[in-house]
Subunit: 330 residues, 2 copies
């Protein structure tokens, strides 16, 4: 391996799982989290009992809450939520060296600015080299050593390929590409569509209805990506289609579970109040706004946004999604 | 409505469900099946207790085993398996009038000839007007009045649109298109890919692995369609993506359930022997052969074909599918 020290920032389930795969070959991995007591518990028990119970932390992973410990890492993996990316990136400004790969894993769009994740990085950390990691991957699957395929994108495909090879293991397969925008849009938009799928399932409308919604949702996701500089073929891959399929059918996905609760009649406030972060709920308003601004037709995302914003009942949303006028399919 | 009599040929779950939706507005519908005793039981009980239990047959649906009863129908819907299409079409040669719409619903490729369903129709019933109905739709969902969206394709989009409108109801939405080849390939290929997804799930490889396989499977399905005259955007719709999503995630799908059994270690002969028709198992060899003949890379379909043909163990197939060399995604 050419990078002997990788830092993962964010001690949630995904950050912990990524730290373990990055530690293959006994590579030194620093796992940083802001909350000292929480990180100390991970260090002391050798396990993230709160978010990834049952998975032993690899021996070469060192949990820390001191940001200075990531300073000499050869690559930084930012496994923090979309709305937290700016704050963490800002904290890194004094630390990152020129041209160091900074990989964001967040699947969302910044609410306050409408910026995509790589744009937030470029804004706050212009000296770093931004990359995006996305794709269908439950942290629990990765931690259990089950086969998983994700995609790492950077403007320079060769740099993406080199780092993808560093991070790949026998079960964790990292493909590479250079369509940064397409990959990050796939991750962000699928979380919003997963909420719609959850609503349909929660309302017991059947699997046929959910499948039709996935097909329509995929079409609007691809439209949005194309209008924002992403390539349709990227969206047909792991980030986009693959991730949509995973998130849109599994209660393991928080976004799907949130939608399912709404479909069962739970209020938005109650469904939100469970304390878990719902990336899709935070991204829905800004995704819908960006679509409107560019005149992109996104009925599914717009309906999700309106339901979350309290402007549309779940029943009316379902009616709008399922009972639209018949027309040509394409 | 402009067609006051529609005939549905095939008294399985799908034929029965379609007969009911075609009967909306009290339209006369003839439901034909070859087996007189079986059809008589449906007629006597007003229900297809064997394949669609719990769904009352609409009052205007007349079950029959006399083929002559379909003679004056304004459209024929052929809800028979792919490998049975030729025989039923042949029986119709003396009956169909010129230019009558004949809609095939089979999701497969003819094994003995390698012909697509519309090609079989053109071969046997050249005087009829061929159409294809496909998309994500469990008969039980349609029978229960749950929202379902399918696509009807014909070379003439206007004719497809007119008939789609005739067949559509408030819950059963029939979109239309003119990409006959794309629509029929979507239906045929997804059944093969669903077997692969079942294998992965049966082997307990996790949902992330299944999602990655769907994404890769979709890519090869699209490649195959493009090389055979289908349009990629069709495959991104209901037939193709939508149907793949449905079939690849639900034990309600026989193809998925067959694959799941293989994944759990059941032999091909045992899994086949359950007596249910597995369209994907019959289509896999001919799909793989057609792909080879045109030099189209279809690793997933080829692996399914090899497993069914006894030339590859399930474990080796999984290895081949999941552990391929890392490369660029697109």
């Amino acid at each position: 391996m050419s990078i002997d020290h990788i830092a993962v920032l964010g001690g949630g389930a995904w950050g912990t799982a990524l730290a373990n795969v990055a530690a293959s070959g006994a590579r030194r991995v620093t796992l940083w989290g802001r909350d000292g007591a929480y990180i100390e518990a991970i260090r002391a028990t050798g396990e993230n009992t709160l978010f990834l119970p049952g998975a032993r932390l690899a021996a070469s992973v060192a949990p820390t809450s001191r940001l200075a410990d990531v300073r000499d890492a050869g690559a930084l993996i930012l496994a923090v939520p979309a709305q937290a990316l700016r704050a963490v990136a800002r904290d890194l400004t004094a630390i990152v060296r020129d041209d160091i790969p900074v990989i964001t894993c967040a699947k969302g769009i910044e609410q306050t600015t409408g910026l995509f994740m790589s744009e937030v990085l470029a804004d706050v950390l212009p000296r770093a080299y931004p990359m995006v990691l996305s794709g269908p991957s439950f942290a629990a699957d990765v931690a259990a050593g089950l086969p998983t395929a994700v995609v790492l994108a950077a403007a320079d495909a060769l740099r993406a390929a080199a780092l993808a090879e560093e991070l790949s293991g026998p079960a964790f397969r990292v493909y590479h590409g250079n369509d940064v925008r397409g990959v990050e849009i796939g991750g962000a938009a699928k979380n919003v569509l997963a909420i719609a799928c959850g609503i349909v399932v929660g309302r017991r409308l059947g699997e046929s209805a959910r499948a039709a919604l996935v097909a329509r949702g995929f079409a609007e996701l691809t439209r949005f990506a194309r209008a924002n500089g992403g390539r349709p073929e990227t969206l047909m891959g792991l980030s986009g289609l693959g991730d949509l399929v995973l998130t849109a059918s599994s209660p393991q996905s928080r976004n799907f579970a949130f939608g399912e609760a709404l479909g069962r009649g739970v209020t938005v406030a109650q469904a939100m109040g469970a304390g878990k972060l719902i990336e899709g709920a935070l991204t829905a308003p800004v995704l819908a706004a960006k679509a409107r601004a560019k005149g992109i037709d996104m009925p599914v995302a717009s309906a999700v946004d309106a339901v979350i914003g309290g402007r549309l009942s779940v029943d009316r949303a379902i009616e709008a999604l399922m009972m639209r006028p018949i027309k040509s399919e394409t």
